[in-house]
């Protein structure tokens, strides 16, 4: 067996990517072989190796240079219907033996679970498509620092009230991920991810505010220009200065596009198999029933080329495909892995590990149109805390944003909460904006909700 390719000089652009992939694939095969040797009836294993560079600058000076380099391997073994798992960051042959041994040892103590096991062999991604996810960035620390400095400088120079900075940071990572199981499936692919972010602090007579902005992409050439990120961070920070509180009241609420993904993720959390078979979801037994107004369509597209969350197969090797979770406002699919599917008497939806490239169909109007339609209410631009009860759907979170009067933004607000029940919030969605130009893997415009409780003074 070869040792892993590694060197700090060429880590970002690895000219031996195929060799590295072969090495990781061999690690997975060795894991499965060792599991068989120890008498496991079935096994599945995953291994990954990533390397990257992270550079931070602050106030025009280099602050940190981090060389990142992460290995991981994990194995799950099945003895009949009993299972055991183990993982390690060490990819050496000795570590493989020890890790598989530990998983087998664990499986002696777990209980028979009739629902446990691998996903059906017939569902495996036999011929996974190339999704164009690998665009390594051979940038050196000096060039990365220069780009981050341009980003921060554009933001700091935008307005005199930007008096301080938490800095700008450029991150790049590339690596290989391989999954295999004892049914003969093995698949893997390289991927890369790059991001540039900036956080700025502004001040006026009312006090200090901080905000940030970022860009992220698989391909560095598709990253938002550095100066644009810096300027957006400055604009977002300045817009918060002079924030006031609000009186306690009920009012319509717009979740701006950059906070709306949080609502979509909460929705997905409630239709995940694990929450459903535990009866720990506010969307229990809602399949084929209306949970959003009829104009709403929510879908995932795992096979999007170059997508930030694209994947040709899920964490069990099951081939992924595009599907609607909601159409005509009706819940069309749960989000299941093979275990939760068996518990529910259903079929896996290729969502072991989560959803990929989640999106809600956007409307035709922009944010300013939604603000005009709302006339008087709250635009939420930040949410704080974890106040979401997945079992009941009760929602209560800290918020900051803008108050709207006469269809126009009147002033920034902070130190308030917004509350309601998610079933009502979802049914109260009256429009989705076309302002989908937000970073990240979730695609959505702003959401206009007919009414929520705002707590303040």
């Amino acid at each position: 067996m070869k040792t892993a390719p590694d060197s700090y000089e060429n880590k970002v652009l690895d000219p031996n990517m195929l060799e590295q992939q072969a090495f990781i694939q061999q690690v997975v095969e060795d894991l499965l072989k060792e599991a068989r040797r120890l008498g496991a009836d079935a096994a599945e294993a995953a291994a990954s190796q990533d390397a990257g560079l992270s550079v931070n600058v602050r106030l025009g000076e280099l602050e940190t240079v981090e060389y990142t380099r992460d290995n991981n391997l994990g194995i799950t073994v099945y003895f009949g219907k009993r299972k055991g798992s183990a993982n390690t960051s060490d990819l050496s042959p000795q570590a493989i033996r020890e890790t598989v041994g530990a998983a087998c040892d664990i499986a002696r103590y777990t209980t028979d679970d009739p629902y446990s096991g691998l996903a059906d062999a017939g569902l495996m991604a036999v011929d996974p498509p190339d999704l164009d996810l690998y665009h390594p960035w051979p940038i050196d620390p000096a060039a990365a620092a220069e780009m981050a400095m341009r980003c921060e400088e554009a933001g700091r120079g935008y307005d005199a009230r930007i008096h301080n900075s938490e800095g700008a940071s450029l991150n790049t990572v590339a690596g290989i991920h391989v999954y295999g199981n004892s049914q003969g499936f093995i698949g893997g692919y390289p991927s890369s991810r790059h991001s540039l972010s900036c956080a700025l602090i502004g001040r006026d007579d009312s006090g200090m505010q901080r905000d940030y902005w970022y860009g992220t992409a698989r391909d560095p050439s598709r990253l938002t220009p550095a100066e644009e990120i810096g300027v957006t961070a400055a604009q977002r920070t300045l817009a918060r200065l002079g924030a006031r509180r609000l009186p306690t009241q009920s009012a319509p609420v717009i979740f701006r596009a950059d906070v709306a993904p949080s609502l979509l993720r909460t929705f997905v959390g409630a239709i995940r198999g694990g929450a459903l078979y535990r009866r720990a979801s506010f969307l229990l037994d809602m399949l084929d029933r209306q949970i959003f107004p009829s104009f709403v369509r929510i879908h995932e597209n795992p096979l999007l080329r170059g997508g930030l969350s694209s994947s040709p197969f899920d964490n069990e090797g099951v081939a992924t495909s595009a599907k609607n979770l909601v159409s005509d406002g009706i819940l069309r699919s749960y989000v299941l892995d093979s275990y939760s599917a068996r518990k529910l008497g259903m079929q896996t939806t290729a969502n072991a590990g989560g959803v990929h490239n989640l999106a809600i169909e956007s409307g035709e109007r922009g944010l300013s149109d939604l603000v005009r339609e709302m006339d008087r209410g709250l635009v939420v631009t930040e949410m704080m805390g974890q106040g979401v009860n997945r079992v009941t759907g009760d929602f209560s979170r800290g918020a900051a944003g803008f108050w709207v009067e006469g269809g126009e933004i009147a002033y920034p607000v902070e130190e308030i909460t917004i509350a309601g029940n998610l079933r009502d919030i979802f049914m109260g969605l009256s429009a989705v904006g076309n302002d989908t130009d937000i970073p990240g893997s979730v695609r959505t415009g702003s959401w206009l909700i007919d009414q929520m409780t705002i707590a303040g003074d």
Partner: protein, 479 residues
Amino acid sequence: MTDTLAIARDLILSPHGLSETDIEQALSLLSMPDVDLADIYFQHSRLESWALEDGIVKEGAFSIEKGVGLRAVSGEKTGFAYSDDIDRRHLMEAARAASSIVRAGQGRHIAVKAAARTAPLYTFDDPLRSLERETKIDILRRVDAEARKQDPRVTQVMVSLVAAHEVVLIAAGDGCLSADIRPLVRLNVSVIAEHNGRREQGGSGGGARDLLPFLLDGDRCLEFAREAVHQALVNLDAVPAPAGTMTVVLGPGWPGVLLHEAVGHGLEGDFNRKGSSAFAGRIGERVASELCTVVDDGAMPGRRGSLSIDDEGTPTQRTVLIENGILKGYLQDRLNARLMGVAPTGNGRRESYAHLPMPRMTNTYMLAGQTDPAEIIASVDKGLYAVNFGGGQVDITSGKFVFSASEAYLIENGKIGRPVKGATLIGNGPEVLTRVTLVGNDLQLDKGVGVCGKEGQSVPVGVGQPTLRVEQLTVGGTA
């Protein structure tokens, strides 16, 4: 006293063919002429976890995490590299990469020596081996049975048990070698209760830097089961929480998450050096009522947030943050202490060898006051009594913080009334403690399940407080 350094050497250096000469050479590569601070952090952690659900032990997992992280600091600049492979070649490569932030030159020779010993605050024994596997499984089953027998409305019980053993070896830039052997155990139980078509959840748990029998002492683990069921049943009867600004009485113990969010993060040295905290430049000013004294104490024996030495080798201590309402001090790691011209406080912490250290809290709590907690509740005409919380969050620049109640009651005419649904409470960090008007004599620390996240790094922490009466907190209900 046990020689933790010898144990760490045997576990981390010898098996990988490393000697003190290799450490000296790596330190020398890090210590280029312009470098002010350097260190090497070796880590070897093992973790075992078990999970029960539907009455059966469904999952068990074992993991090993090991590696080494090297850092070179020059002024405000830091170079950092790490490796999962602990061997000579990777050590030297990482040292060269980390020191590449400064101009190359002749590294200083650093002689390695043992640091002054610090008395350990916890056992060096291995929690993973502190009970037989059968006994671990039996704990899960007993907790499950205890929860189910409380009430027929309990429909789901999930129990998890985690034991971790972490050995760290730190070579500071001056050549001082120190080591720490850190046990950590935790049990969590969460339940779903269902009645008349309504479902609610409840949760509890606890842990310590101790061995697994800690969870069995006084049937502690069964108490967690009863608490989780109690919380779920209370919530089955809960009515919508009020919305608006009102007097809030916070129970003792875990509600101290208030202090962690409202003041703790804002007093971390990095944010204050950079001027990004709402507390920056306010030492000596009044930031709380004179009833309030808040400390961070990493040196409490066996607590989840405790460390014998921090992740930079500095012995932990009790740091007074607020004394009788006056802001006294910040929490410091080495880098920020040096740049601010103060001494480190033993708060330099990192999630692992693959992360850079920064100032973090340990066990943060408010000292007890004079008032009987029953009197505090009786003093409120109309308000909220919040006894249990989920997590919280803070914007350290604006000072705004939230924390979410998971068990709360109305107070009416000085009496505890109906339970209300969970609600988020929001306030302004530099102001909220000035509105503390009564402090109970019932200081409690939390049960040992806290995790703090900062800049993507998670570390175990503790919180605590006595019962507090706070005026004019905003409660985010719907009623």
